[in-house]
Amino acid sequence: MPMNDLLNTLASEQTKADLPEVRPGDTVRVSVRVVEGNRERVQNFEGTVLRVRNGGLDKQITVRRISSGVGVERTFLMHSPRVEKIELVRHGHARRAALYFLRERVGKAATLREKRR
């Protein structure tokens, strides 16, 4: 086996096969394992996907939600063992790859049309 193939194999062994196809504008629910003190629990984070960064093992999504009146953005490594599950809640209609314009919008203006796929 050529060496590079082996490296690729080793890297892909860590990737998750069951990830949904997430696109900018989609609404997702991400279940993350968080450590609180000495116990671990699963925390859900639901919001709009602002952008998707591909990079094999490095694949990231940035999710934005309004939490008690404050905009919160979290970036998740999709293949990380801390990310338990990623659920697609809704497909949003987005015409660009990075939806930074949503940051300036409040309320209903910050929602995207639903897209049927």
């Binding site: 080793l10 093992l57 490594l77």
Partner: protein
């Protein structure tokens, strides 16, 4: 670097098997391997570590040197499985009944009792969490100027400057009338034997003879490295 690898005494030989006997355990195992390259690895806490993958198919003991005969005690390890025609007759004669081996390295041991030619030493000598020193030949950089090699400050770029990447003064005038020894100047950089100490083994894969080491290791891909326990 002066005398490398002083390894503490071994334990008595284990029960002999069919064919070559099992090489005895040593407290600080050493292995020759080939750097495959680097990948990313997730830790349990979700952090990502840059990881060097080293392929180290079983090393074969090719010779045992003893104090009485050679003046020092060591074992000679062989690594790599070249085609037979790639080796000289002399090298093949040295290996005798052993398979052809490309890279031979000696490891100094105080006690070589129990070692015999033909024994194999594998990746299973290391375990996840072990600290290791890794030696290899660093990437050659060619002949480099003082700015790259010693991080000297460059001169002005314009206004007739002829000093962009030159060093400054190399000393005084008539007294002492010479350039002091050891002054840092442009020179060849890289392709040196370098040891990186206290790297951590993230995991081992005995079925594929792989070592996963957190962090970087000297040399380029396919470089030959020596891994020894810290």
């Amino acid at each position: 670097m002066s005398e490398e690898t002083t390894v503490e005494g071994g334990s008595p030989p284990q029960t002999p098997q069919t064919g070559p006997t099992q090489a005895p355990a040593i407290t600080k195992p050493v292995l020759i391997g080939r750097k495959l390259g680097m990948i990313q690895q997730f830790r349990e806490d979700g952090s990502v570590v840059g990881t060097t993958v080293i392929a180290a198919e079983a090393n074969v003991v090719t010779q045992v040197r003893t104090k009485e005969r050679d003046g020092y005690s060591a074992i000679q390890l062989g690594f790599g499985r070249p085609k037979k025609k790639r080796l000289s007759k002399g090298a093949l004669g040295h290996l005798k009944q052993l398979p052809p081996l490309e890279h031979l390295r000696e490891v100094r041991l105080d006690d070589v009792a129990g070692f015999a030619t033909g024994q194999e030493i594998g990746v299973d000598r290391f375990a996840a969490g072990d600290k290791v020193h890794v030696s290899g030949v660093s990437k050659g950089k060619g002949f480099q100027g003082p700015v790259h090699l010693h991080h000297f400050t460059r001169g002005p770029k314009s206004h007739g400057s002829d000093h962009l990447r030159r060093q400054g003064s190399v000393g005084s005038g008539t007294t002492p009338g010479r350039v002091l020894k050891g002054l840092r100047m442009a020179s060849h950089q890289g392709a040196d034997r370098v040891t990186v100490r206290n790297l951590q083994i993230l995991k081992t894969d005995p079925s594929r003879a792989l070592l996963f080491i957190a962090g970087a290791v000297p040399g380029g891909r396919n470089g030959i490295v020596m891994v020894r326990k810290a």
